[in-house]
Structures are given as C-alpha cells and as structure tokens.
Symmetry: C2
Subunit: 587 residues, 2 copies
Amino acid sequence: MNLQKRKELVEVALGKREADTVLKNGNLINVFSGEIYRANIYIYDKYIANIVECEADTINIGKNIIDVEGRFISPGFIDSHVHIESSHLTPVNFARAVLPKGTTTIIADPHEIANVLGVNGVKYMIENSKDVPMTQYYLIPSCVPSVVGLENAGAEFDDIEIEKMLDFPRVLGLGEVMDFVGVINQSDRMTKIVETAIKKGMFVQGHAPELSGNELSAYICGGPISCHETRSGQQASDKIRKGMYVDARESSISKNITSIVKNIKNMKSPRNLTLCTDDREPKDILEVGHVNDCVRVAVKAGLEPIEAIRATTLNTAQEYKLDKIGAIAPGYFADIVVLDNLVDFNVLKTFWHGKLVAENDKLTVEIKNPNLEIDTLNSVYINELSETDFKIKAPIENGEIKIEVLSYLTKERSVTDRKTVVVNVKDGFIDISKNTNLNFVAIINRHKSNNNIALAVVENFYLKNGGVGTTYSHDSHNLTIIFNKPNEALAIAQKIKELGGGIVTSENGLITGVLPFPIAGMLSNQPAEILSKEITEMNKILKKMGIETASPITRPTTLALIVIPNTKMSDLGLIDVKEQKIINLFN
Amino acid sequence: MNLQKRKELVEVALGKREADTVLKNGNLINVFSGEIYRANIYIYDKYIANIVECEADTINIGKNIIDVEGRFISPGFIDSHVHIESSHLTPVNFARAVLPKGTTTIIADPHEIANVLGVNGVKYMIENSKDVPMTQYYLIPSCVPSVVGLENAGAEFDDIEIEKMLDFPRVLGLGEVMDFVGVINQSDRMTKIVETAIKKGMFVQGHAPELSGNELSAYICGGPISCHETRSGQQASDKIRKGMYVDARESSISKNITSIVKNIKNMKSPRNLTLCTDDREPKDILEVGHVNDCVRVAVKAGLEPIEAIRATTLNTAQEYKLDKIGAIAPGYFADIVVLDNLVDFNVLKTFWHGKLVAENDKLTVEIKNPNLEIDTLNSVYINELSETDFKIKAPIENGEIKIEVLSYLTKERSVTDRKTVVVNVKDGFIDISKNTNLNFVAIINRHKSNNNIALAVVENFYLKNGGVGTTYSHDSHNLTIIFNKPNEALAIAQKIKELGGGIVTSENGLITGVLPFPIAGMLSNQPAEILSKEITEMNKILKKMGIETASPITRPTTLALIVIPNTKMSDLGLIDVKEQKIINLFN
C-alpha cells in the first residue's frame, strides 16, 4: 500500500471518504478473538478500512452497499499446500475453478511441471498466474528428481539452481522436502538444498509420512516446518505438539482430515493446524468444493467452526508469515468469503482484494489467458519407435522363465510389492497371454536428455485388454504405458507424441480414447468444466478396460512413483524403493 | 544454526549423540496444542533437539540430567514492550535482574535515552547488551521529540535518520508511535516515519490510549500493529477484534491486565493478546517479579494458565515474527523456564539458549559489564547559574497578580489542568510563600543544543518544603526542578551537573539526598539490588518532603511529559497539551 492509499484508507475508516463496498449485516467470524458477531465491513480499494458492529455504525456511506442478511463472513480461504498440476488446469483455469469456492490464496508447489520443464516450468506457473484475481504463492520444488540416480526426469535441481529460483516473484520458500531419509541422515544433497532456504529466512515445507517420535524430531531439527502427509490422528498430535504445521489434507484420493480432527480433540485451539487440498481433480473442485470442503469435513468431524476457519485462514497466514491476509481487520486485504452457514460452508460470494470475483458459484470477473511460449511447446521428445521396442527380450528362446514383476497389493492404493512369477517365452520374447493379472509396462523417457525405454511386467493392474499411456506420471513424468500387445503401446506412443502429452488408450493398435494434456504433457488448456467432462469420459473408458478404482486415470500415474513402497519402475527399469536399487528382471 | 550444528542436533534427536542437558519429568506446557503433559526435553548447544513423553523415552543419554520432578516447564517469557530506562538499570544490569524471573527475551524501546543522546543512545543500549545471556531486541524510537516544536530534547529523529537505525543489529522495527493524532490526521512527519518501517517489512509498534471505534480503525490502517496503552477491557476487546496486538501491561504504575482479562472472557484463545511490563522499577522486579508476575496477575484475573503462557510466549513471538522462540519444540532455541506451579509462577530455573542462567532467584552465570564511552560521559550540559535564574519576573513590581499554573488533579496520577491563581509580587518577582499548595518549577534544557530555562508555578505537587530535581524527566529529559526557594533549585542544579544526572533533593540550599544516574542522566551503574535500596532511600526523603504517591520518585518525572493532558511544561514554558501551544504565564 503506498502512502496515498494509506491516507485514503484512514479517511474511509474515519467516515470522511466513501467506501467502495460495504458488506452490511454479516455475521463476522473473527479469527483473532474466536467470536462471531454482527458487523458491517467497509472496503476501500483492495483493503478493509473498518469493521463496525451493526448497532454502533454511524458511517453508512459507500458506493456499493451489499446487505448479506446475516450470512457468515469469513476471511478468504488459504490452501496451505496444493499442486495445481494435479488438477491438470493451468494456473489461470485453476483460479477460475477455485475462486467460486472461496479460495483466495494458495501456496502451490509446482513440483510436477518442474520435473518436466525445470526452471522454465516453475517460471511458467508464476507467469501464467501473474494477473489472476487471487493470490498464488509458489514454493520451489526441492526434490527434482525425486531420487537422484534412479530415474531421469526433465530436470535436476541442485542447491545453486534452487537458490536462484527462491528469488522469483511470489516465491515463499522450498517445496515439500520429500526426501525425509536424506534429511534424517543429513545427506549432502538435502542439507545443502534445505540450507539455501534457511539462510534466506524462507519457508521449508516438509513431507513426513509415517514419521513420529525421535525420527520426527530429527526431521524437524533438519529444517522442515510443515507436513501435509499426516494420515493418523496420533501422527498429527505428535507433529502439532512438536510445533510442525500439520496441513491436514483432503485431496481427491487422500482424505485425512476426519482422522486428524477426531484425534486432536484434547487440544485447545491448536495453533499449527491448517487445511490443504494437495491434489484435487477438477470434477471434485466443481462438484464437492475446494478448501471450503476441507472446512466442511473438519467441522463434520467435530472441529469447532471457528477453529476450522482459523485453520484455513489465520493459522495458514502465520505458517507462511503472510502479512495482512487470513483475517478481517483494518488494513488487511479485503479477501472475504460470504458463507451460507457453518455446516455446509457453501460460498455465496468471494471477494479478492476488494473485488467481487465470484457469486453463486460463478465467476463475476473476466480472467484472461496469457499467451506464453510453453502453451504451444510440445514437450514430448521420443524417437521413432516400432513394435519391437515394446517386447521384452528373454534370456532363453522358448519355454518358461521366472521374471521379477511389480505387483499391486490392492485395486485402490498405489502400494506395490515385488514378486517372482513364471511366464512363457516365445521366440525369445516374454509372452504373458496365458497369465491373467499380468500386463506389460513400458517407461519411455520423453525428455530431451535421453531415449531410455524400460520394459517390465506388472501384476494386478487389471487391464483386461488394450493399453493406456500417460505423460502425467509421477514424479519424472516420463511416458508410462501399460499394455497387453506391442501394437497398442506403439499406437499410444505415437498418438501421445502428436498431442504433446496426455492420456491415451488403444485396443489392437487403434486409438480408443484421448485426453490431451498439451502443456508440459500434464496440463489441459481447457477450463475445469470441459476438462472435467473429458476426464469423466476417459475414466469410463478405463473402467471398461478393467481399471475399477475411484479415479481410474490416476492409476497409471503412480506406477513410476519411485518414492512409494515397495517396487516401482523408472526409465532405468524396475526399482526396489527401500533399497534404492534397480532390479534385474531375470535372476 | 550452521550446517554442522544442525547435523549434530539431528543426531541428538535420534539418540545417536549425547544431549548436553536433559530436563526430565517436567510437566510441559505445550503452547501449540494447548496441553500440559509429562515429557523429557533434550537440549544440545543452544537448541532443543527432542521432546519425548516420559513413558515413551528410550534415549536417556545426556551429559547433565536434571530431574525437575513434575515442575512445570514453560517457554522462556517474552516481554512484548519495555523501556529498560524506566528501571534505571543498564541493559546488562537489567538482564541480571530479570533472568531469575524467567524473562529470556525482551522487545525494548530505547525511547528515553534516544531523547538525550540520539543515535548514540540507541547504539549504547544495543552495544551494552551485546553479550548478555538473554535476547534483547530493540525498536527505533519513532517520536523523538514527543512533540516537535514544543520542547527541545537532545535529539530529533526524522524518517531518514530512523531508516538508518532500522538496520542496526537486533532491531525489529519502529517503537511506539505515540503521535496517534499525527497518524489519524496523516501528518507528513508521522506518515513518513511509519513508511520507513513498513517499506522494510518491519514492525510498527502502536500507542493508542483511549482510542476505539472508527479512530482506532483509522490508526490501525495508518500502520501500527500493536498497543500497550489499553486500560479498559472494552478497549482491549475492540483492539483484539481488529487484529491489533494488545500488549496487556502491568507496569509499576499502570496495572491493566486484570481489567483486560476480565473483559475478554467471551473470547476463545485470543491470538493477539500479549503481556508486557512497559516500565518497572528495580524493587518491583526484585520483589514482585517481571513477566512472570504479568502471567500470575492474568491467571488470577481468570485467564486460563495455558492462555496466559501463550500470551507471553507464542503470541509474542508471532507478533514480532520471531523464529524458533516462544515454544518448546525441536529446533527451537532452548529458552526454558521451570515454574513451581501455575498459580504463583515463581521461577525455579531459567535456561537461555541451552544454558542454565538463573536458579532459585539467583544468577548462575557471570555477566560482564562492557566498557563503553557513554558510561563515563557527563550528559548534563548546563551553564553557570545563579539564584536569579530561578525567580519568575512579574510584569509589576509589587502587589497581586493573576498567573497561569499547572495544577495536578490527584496525588497519584500525572493528569493536570490549567488554572489561574492569584499570587503576590515582591520587588518584581513572583512570591508564593503565602500560597499553600503552590511550588515553583524550572525546566532547564540540559542538552548541548541550547540553554533554555523555563519557569512556572505548579499547584498540588505537595512539596511542603525544599526542592527536588531530576534529569530523568519524560520525554525530553531536561532538568526538571520543583522547589520552594531559589537557593534550593540552584544547589540541585549544581549537584546534578556534578553527578552527570540523577535525582537530587535540597533544603535551604543544602543537599539532602542524592540518587545518581550518571549514564545519560537516567541510568545508574549499580545493579538492581543496590539501586533498589538507593531508590527506597530517595522515596523516603521525598515522602518526608510531602510527596505521598506510591512511587514518589516518579512524580517529578512526568511534569514535563507534554503528551499527557492537559497542561504540562517544557523548556519553552507552560504547554497546553491539547492545543499544542505555549501558554503565557500572565495574560
């Protein structure tokens, strides 16, 4: 706020200058005092000038007076941890989707796009969101690639590169430090990376799944301040007690808030509980909600409404040391949400920086798409391929052989194990046509750096027929294809190259479904409403092919996630996650 | 913390390296979760490495294991607003006095010494406290002098000078912005000064006595974040609701905590309530306590112990955005207090940065006095004077005349009014020998800049006989002498010049009492124990002379405080505080 604006704001507070907007007769949720009471809110320019209890109000001047008739007035919601890429929306389209849900600020970790486009990917997210009517803060991905030496992503960030990116605009610190083993063991790479942020006095986001006790203390001593990977209430309690911000998560897949809330009931107004969405699909955002849904779930689980609102406003602002947001007070940014009630948390109006940006679930402002180079860049670099590239050469010509496979434990979760199975060999190549529950899998490096192709066999993926390929494949986002026949894999690879990325299905060499992600092979250029329908369509196709999880499109995207136990795959081959080693298919 | 230290701390957390100190079997007051439970605390170097619930502890290694047998363990106390000069102790002696009371961090405003020595005064406080075993943060005084043009202090700070001082070490921002009228009216001087801190992203401390409603909102919009001038609960409520940090005060004179606490009982865990001492005399610190006494008073008034502790630890750390203090958690500084119980809040042990610094009300470490130039500088610059300098010339030679006087309203409070009284004139000079309840007063500029002497008459000061002079005289700290006979004033002025400052009494030209403040005319070089006795002695003398307030030595120190209503005095003459004008003695 410049001097002149501050002067004008002071005048509005004194009633000597007309407010731009007056929100009258709301039930103000005061996150400082923990009270709820009737008040009028005077907004000028981007800011709140004054809050006056209704019966004491003698000002009553304003260009635009909105009577909210006893509805609840909350500070705009802050998402304490989100990957925009998980929605496959561009930052602009993401803003369009979440503003009607009351989210006015996010802290995003562009970890996915960074694995593909490196520094340019991070820049893209920041530039794309430059003029959106919401506050998008960014963190610099700390673990690109997720495990050095076991996969080839599109980039590799060291401490020097990270240090430079920490100076980019709207950057608050370091994104989730997933390599918790590296922190606890104080590996050279991780300590250096964490140090870059600490010495700049910036935020260090944690990622401490299943950590507790001494190991949790050690991780915290190592630098990370927060964690969104908390599944049980016991873990939440341990983390909150130790001063770690628990960003309780309600993503499309991981629903942790209920368990966390139920297990911290003995706590009094915990200061370091926040709420986050982490990864939400567009359909969920549109139909269920965004941070407002996290609040709803928390309250349903037993958290007092005032504490749930605090969690997603003031607590988060304090977590990231954000000034003048997260509360409704004089001098604060007028980021305000009007809610129907304190059960459903449906958002009737969203104000960002004093402007009404959404009303009754619809945007009320035009948000322009910036034109950036990356929007039209094809990021899928793969060579000419042939069917033979998708056949696994066996060490024998014909007969039976034991092969190491990656085996899913359940239909829903991404946890896998290693297993030895017996398969046929025909003319020197592995033949799985007799083994139900087996599929082939290919990971094709699709980045500029190399042309690796790794092949293997996966069990319990449940792809009855055909093949599916995706360039959105955590964390390196190489092209992952699960298939039954080589001609299916080839067709998919060719189509995906043409599209510049996406999810594609094939049967017998014919393309049966297409979900384009032309931006970095992971983002659609469509708004949430259209993309959501496209995803629903693709999910139907995948379901028919045999993938019966709640969200079929996410099933292939975690096969190459080599930080999830116990056996995964990269462009270098099958990976033993715990041992951090490549597994030979044939022993 | 450097990389190597962090590595070692991680090892201690894991139980792989011996802790320096283990505090065993304490009842940990967890300010994050609002819980109290048994835990062992592992300390290494300056930091906390681990906190383990007693029954779950399997580490049990440490060089020094201290069993605290169920005593309460709190984060070290933080004083959210204090003027060290009010104790007349040097920063080093102040540390010696407050550490046994559990205060490990203070945010000090060196406003008083700045009025005398300017930038050098601020530097002195910072340098004197350089090696104390506590954390002394400083704010840069914003209102030197308190009102420009109405008095001549030893310095005048403009925004340019303040901007430079904001870069001094351990400086967090701008000290109390007392000129609230200037902020509300957006005066050029105050807006510029406030802007210096805001544009550096630094703290702006407020001072908003009696402000509420629209004016309070306007003041907050103008920049200040906090206020320690809150006397009533209603004001506290208004301020807390508006996001202002309420630094609830319990000074030697102003006891506001009880009223504040009683009136915010409907609030749920207010986030922006903190506690402060503002001005405490050494006797109070030694006998009653310091911040621990604020906590005691708050709890007695009905605040839950956990909230009282939060107020003076986590809340204050958040107020000033201080990292890694204000809580007991891994990676935090080991600033820890062991308390007897949650009623008396007597401090059994104080740890600062991992070191036991006080135990059973005694320091356990040696704290050295740095030798600085200002320690031996005589800051009292006054010319040779004669008795005539202390006689008020009347516009008539003999008879009676009406004169404007400064009249105290009560024996205790510093509020005054203007009054017209009739006095005798004898040989051209005012003669008050017939008027009981009248005394003379002289304000002598004692700074380098000029030699002004202002004379006037004061009513209801109750100095039955003799005179008292002080160089500790808010805010410009000119030499203030209240007296009955000119020879008393002269003797006092001469003695004070010789001492380099202090409080001196005289009767009939003979010195009857001396309390030396040789440093800047406001600080003793004695420790609290000795100074406290000296003050008691001086108080006895003043009481005998007729000053019967609770703290007689403070009575003369506010006569020249030209920001307190309604009539005060400066080296320029009688001042109408509200009109901000000089009053002619004779109309």
